[in-house]
Amino acid sequence: MPISDWFKAREAKRYVTPNGPVDTSDLPDGVWIKCEECRRTVYQGDMESNLQVCPGCGAHGDLTAADRIAYLVDEGSFVETDGSLGSVDPLSFTSGKPYAGALEAARENTGMREAVLTGRATILERPVVVGAMDFRFIGASMGSAVGERITRAFELALTERTPLVLAVASGGARMQEGMLSLMQMAKTASAAARLSEAHVPYIALLTNPTMGGVTASFATLADVIYAEPHARIGFAGPRLVEQTIRTGLPKGFQSAESLLAHGMVDAVVDRRELTERVALTLDYLGSGGE
């Protein structure tokens, strides 16, 4: 499926002022949704025009990879690379839900071939290599195909000396690929190290959730790290931590705000300001002082 199809369903209206009054009198049922944070009922169109940010409380809703890219880059500028690259089931993993079936289901449910989209685009007219992960696809876990697509994005950015912008979301490694999955951490981190050594800018956006092997590899090796409000970001899952330390977790544990306070991310950025912030940051990192 060409990426352009993913865009057609929605209108990318950016920087719409939230909280505008809505005339709801003659709307059909079902276009109203309830914000999980503030429990307010919000008109779905309002959520969409507000980049899935609740106009009531500012909660940032989940995005598909396609929406993420659409919100981030100039309309129509995205050209996917490596779109035909997908996972196989190298270990014939059958414990629990068989992996082959899970892959098929994920493809059907998302219309995607893998959990990350990568390609070329422009952000407010600045050329970038861009990627976005989609949590709906087996928790955006990093198997061989995700690792390969991300590595190629790093390599493309390196070869063309074009800045890289990655919107990260992931539950961690894809255990159904065993050690092949773990080694993607080393592979993507090595690719990130090469890009860094070549002084090509790399900006990461950590969204909800960014956990496990992805956080512990390419995602946090960026020159500048932004995070979305309230995104969960960490290495170990909160339940494992809770079991290990046998006590409750502190309030806001592993939240983007907590990571900011602990010095791990450069800033927490509202989704509605992200495109401009990324463009501005790119201007600095690509400027050589001019």
């Binding site: 050690m179 773990l182 080393a186 092997g213 512990a216 090796l221 960490g234 290495f235």
Partner: protein, 321 residues
């Protein structure tokens, strides 16, 4: 030697051994057949152990890899290396006993050594956090990686950890970032990196010092993206199905060679490395020095390129329609 820890699958052996000890306490002169019986029983025990160990399941190997008497990083350092200079601290926050770092000599080669350090007893285990590093451990390792890089010292890295420690403060002090920085640093070290899986190889905490130009695995070591118990918990909400998960994860030494991730296996005696550590030390010494010899003349640039290409080939996927 009385062993206090018996693995489930070794129970038949343990029972025979118990019987053997009872026999040996009897008066040989009063029962002339006893000597023969003892010899027979000893043979039976040996045969049973060899049979068991010739076809260990993945889960059984995981148990062997975690055996409390299994040789630890410190044992390897004492046995294989001379002129050891341990280096402490990350120069940022602390010194982590769960991560060994230092300079040492193996054969005629001077190297930097990294290794997850489990304790050999409870007291040591508490000091070493049972071999699960805090961010400080990874940052110490990274510091020594950079030292090795600057001075062209090969790195020998010994893997033996259940994983990075999943504590609240570990998360707050950037466990993920500390591991990521290790990976990026290790990728660029301009000297040979030889990794040996000596016991547990638990996920990102192992990988942080766990890839390079060669991966040597002990026969009963494992190296996995996730522990079998946690995998079973996620898949079945039942850690008791770890055996099934262990098989599926394909994380034994044999599996890793088959998958093209490990290069070489050092055989262990029947009963595991702890039954005859000297044999295993000898095997590791041989494999490591051979690897160092092979890598010694590769120019640094090529070494780093090859290391990258090695990772680039790791992964199985499909492309095209």
């Amino acid at each position: 030697m009385a062993r206090t820890f018996v693995m489930e699958f070794e129970r038949p052996v343990a029972e025979l051994e118990h019987k053997l000890e009872s026999l040996k306490r009897l008066d040989l002169t009063a029962q002339p057949d006893l000597a023969a019986e003892i010899v027979a029983l000893e043979l039976e025990i040996e045969k049973l152990r060899e049979t068991l160990y010739s076809s260990l399941s993945a889960w059984e190997k995981v148990q062997v890899s975690r055996h409390p008497e299994r040789p630890k990083t410190q044992d390897y350092i004492e046995a294989l290396f001379t002129d050891v200079v341990e280096l402490h601290g990350d120069r940022l926050f602390g010194d982590d006993g769960a991560m060994f770092a230092g300079l040492a000599t193996i054969g005629r080669r001077r190297v930097a050594v990294l290794g997850h350090s489990k304790g050999r007893n409870t007291k040591e285990n508490i000091a070493r956090n049972f071999g699960s590093p805090h961010p400080e451990g990874f940052r110490k390792a990274r510091r020594v990686m950079r030292l090795a890089d600057r001075f062209g010292l090969p790195i020998v890295s010994l893997l033996d950890t259940a994983g990075a420690y999943p504590g609240i403060e570990d998360e707050q002090r950037g466990q993920a970032l500390a591991i990521a920085e290790c990976l990026a640093t290790l990728a660029g070290v301009r000297a040979p990196v030889v990794v040996v899986g000596i016991g547990e190889g638990g996920s990102g905490g192992a990988l942080a010092i766990g890839f390079g130009d060669r991966l040597i695995m002990l026969e009963n070591a494992y190296y996995s993206v996730i522990s079998p118990e946690m995998c079973a918990t996620i898949l079945h909400k039942d850690a008791g199905r770890a055996s099934e998960a262990a098989a599926c994860l394909q994380a034994t030494a044999d599996d890793l060679v088959r998958l093209g991730i490990a290069d070489e296996i050092v055989r262990e005696p029947a009963g595991g490395a702890h039954r005859d550590p000297e044999v295993v030390f000898e095997g590791v010494r041989d494999a490591v020095t051979r690897a160092l010899d092979e890598l010694a003349d590769v120019p640094a640039d090529e070494l780093v390129s090859r290391r990258y290409e090695r990772l680039r080939k790791t992964g199985v996927y499909t492309e095209g329609d």
